[in-house]
């Protein structure tokens, strides 16, 4: 039982939760909007159980489609953690968002352990299809519908690109294994698949959907998407990068990474909508992650741990950031004016998250950025290091601008002040995020500790 459990603990728990929610939904027949507390708890419980199993399943196992090892478990744990946050905080008017989130989680879990191109494709679809619906359905408005359609059209095009790449790789090697035979076709195929991965990560020429979608979604959902889905895209990118024919990432990924970092931050400078601003900031962060990935191809030693540390830090601070938006009820930049006096604790939390995103010590964000810098310099990639430094500076410009607005601007008229959300779960998770961001930064060996868990696959070379 041990081995299969290690393989499917994650998706299984997600599916179990999904079924449970569906069944619980059957007990009453009225479709009126309601806040299904029990369903939420059930979904969270299943996700948490999955997390528990993931953390306690030490065996490595593999089948034709999947393989389970420290690497996949870590990613799945990350996905479960992010989804727990989403499930706990997402505003509900029915149980459908729970189902969709759980389905997407199943896709994410499959993605983390997939060892087969076809599995990758299906999990990619399973991961993204519910999200189109979530974006559309959570906040039924014209904007959300528009975002859903845009996301769907571009996302489906990305899937098609992936699929065509898959077909090419199949035609080249005759199998769906990631490590098949190489030929001219597979060069094309990997390029197409990488394009799809870049789309999911939100790297620069593939990022246009991202601000629109984040702007139209609920902050919790945007926070989840920016962490879990971005992580999934990055994971996919990493897989492809190390399975692909020897095209140096420096050739194509590093310019794109640098461009994402700079353009993301530059575009964020002039945003008025806060979610959109954070969306652009997440593009810049994706660029930093991609930069770390570039370094990985040159300096394989510490990089997986670095990327994973960055992602886990990012999970806390970006989810925390979006949570801060929810907690303060701020939609656009003006709403933040004078917030420091109106809601000191909430604005302190938001400020902490922003400073952490800006990478100021001693927060978690600083540590994450430091690792990437170290990684890049170890790989000798001065160009990317300089770009990262420059983009951090530009980023500081708007993060700090927001902090300044919160504390140093006169508050808006009372009538225009947005209402403040006060839900227990939000506050609890906010406290968690704040603690993680503050204390994590004082724990510089985070990366090596994570590295020791990740070490197994890296040593085996399965990732590479």
């Amino acid at each position: 039982m041990g081995a299969p459990l290690a393989l499917i603990a994650g998706p299984l728990s997600a599916c179990a939760g999904l079924v449970l929610v569906l069944l619980l939904g059957l007990r009453k027949d009225h479709p009126a909007p309601h806040n299904p507390f029990i369903e939420r708890c059930a979904a969270m419980a299943c996700t948490a159980i999955g997390l528990f199993f993931l953390l306690n399943a030490p065996e490595a196992a593999r089948t034709e489609l999947l393989r389970a090892d420290g690497w996949s478990r870590c990613w799945q744990a990350l996905f479960h953690l992010a989804t727990l946050g989403l499930l706990a905080t997402i505003p509900l008017k029915g149980e459908r968002p729970l189902i969709l989130a759980l389905a997407s989680l199943a896709g994410l879990d499959f993605l983390a352990s997939a060892d087969n191109l076809l599995m990758l494709f299906v999990s990619l679809e399973l991961m993204s299809l519910p999200v189109y619906l979530l974006v559309w359905g959570l906040l039924p408005s014209r904007k959300s519908l528009e975002a859903g359609i845009k996301y769907f059209l571009t996302g489906a095009a990305a899937s098609a690109l992936f699929l065509f790449g898959l077909a090419l790789q199949y035609s080249a090697s005759g199998s769906f294994s990631l490590h098949g035979e190489r030929s001219a076709d597979s060069a094309l195929g990997f390029a197409l698949m990488c394009a799809a991965a870049l789309f999911k990560t939100g790297i620069v020429p593939f990022q246009f959907w991202l601000p629109d979608v984040y702007e139209a979604s609920e902050p919790e959902l945007a926070g989840w998407m920016s962490t879990a889905l971005k992580a999934a895209g990055l994971l996919l990118l990493a897989r492809l990068l190390f399975a692909s024919p020897a095209v140096p990432a420096a050739l194509w990924l590093s310019p794109l990474a640098a461009l994402s970092m700079l353009l993301g931050n530059i575009l964020a400078l002039r945003q008025q909508n806060l979610r959109r601003l954070l969306a652009y900031s997440s593009i810049a962060h994706a660029g930093a992650l991609a930069a770390a990935l570039c370094a990985w191809t040159r300096e394989p030693h510490a990089a997986p741990a670095v990327i994973f540390s960055y992602l886990s830090a990012y999970l806390f601070m970006n989810f925390g950031g979006f949570l801060g938006l929810r907690l303060t009820g701020a939609l656009c930049v003006q709403d933040l004016s004078g917030l420091g006096r109106r809601a000191p604790l909430r604005s302190a939390f938001l400020a902490l998250m922003l400073l952490s995103l800006a990478g100021l010590p001693p927060t978690l964000g600083f540590l994450a950025k430091l690792y990437v810098f170290l990684d890049l310099l170890q790989a000798g990639d001065k160009f990317l290091a300089a770009a990262l430094a420059l983009s951090s500076l530009i980023g500081l410009g708007y993060y700090l601008g927001l902090v300044r607005r919160m504390y140093m601007d006169e508050p808006a008229a009372a009538a225009e002040q947005p209402p403040i959300c006060s839900r227990m779960a939000h506050s609890l998770i906010a406290v968690l995020c704040a603690l993680a961001c503050m204390l994590g930064g004082l724990y510089p060996s985070m990366s090596t500790d994570i590295g020791s868990v990740l070490a197994a696959p890296a040593a085996e070379g399965s990732v590479r």
């Binding site: 479709p31 619906l133 035609s171 001219a184």
Partner: protein
């Protein structure tokens, strides 16, 4: 003989795809798509997998086309205003021109392909076995996918 048939099908498929692109009427676009799908199904049969051809016919012609045609009917075939949109024509042509290089590369790569084997017997049977053994999880996942998709339709009804 088969080659000729494949050639005819291929040309027909390409032509109807082109027609679909250039026709301004959504109905005709949809019907041209139907033609493409039929040609593809035919190609599947011609290449040796009747089962897949049939499935293609069923799912696409029977399922997806119905959806699309129904949607077109609901939306109306004519486009509204005809403002210029997105990338200009010149940009689109430039993009297309850029596509020429990879396409050429793709076509040249045909030389490196493995020589085709004679069609193996029982291929479709082993496919079915695969789906329920090695690929069981995959099938499950696709099932989940379809469930999600159906939820979207349900959502339509709810709201």
């Amino acid at each position: 003989m088969v080659t000729l048939a494949v050639a005819v099908c291929a040309v027909a498929a390409l032509a109807s795809a082109g027609l679909a692109f250039f026709s301004k009427n959504l109905y005709s676009s949809a019907f041209c798509l139907l033609a493409v799908l039929l040609q593809v199904a035919l190609l599947f049969c011609l290449l040796g997998s009747t089962l897949l051809g049939l499935l293609q016919l069923l799912v696409y012609a029977g399922g997806i086309m119905v959806l699309i045609v129904a949607a077109v009917t609901a939306v109306g075939p004519e486009s509204g205003n005809a403002k210029a949109l997105g990338p200009s024509r010149a940009h689109a042509w430039a993009l297309l021109a850029l596509c020429a290089v990879p396409t050429a590369f793709f076509l040249i790569a045909a030389r490196h392909c493995a020589p085709s084997l004679p069609p193996a017997a029982m291929l479709e049977k082993s496919m079915a076995r695969l789906l329920f053994n090695e690929y069981a999880l995959l099938t499950e996942a696709v099932g989940l996918l379809v469930l999600v998709a159906s939820l979207s339709v349900l959502k339509e009804q709810h709201d």
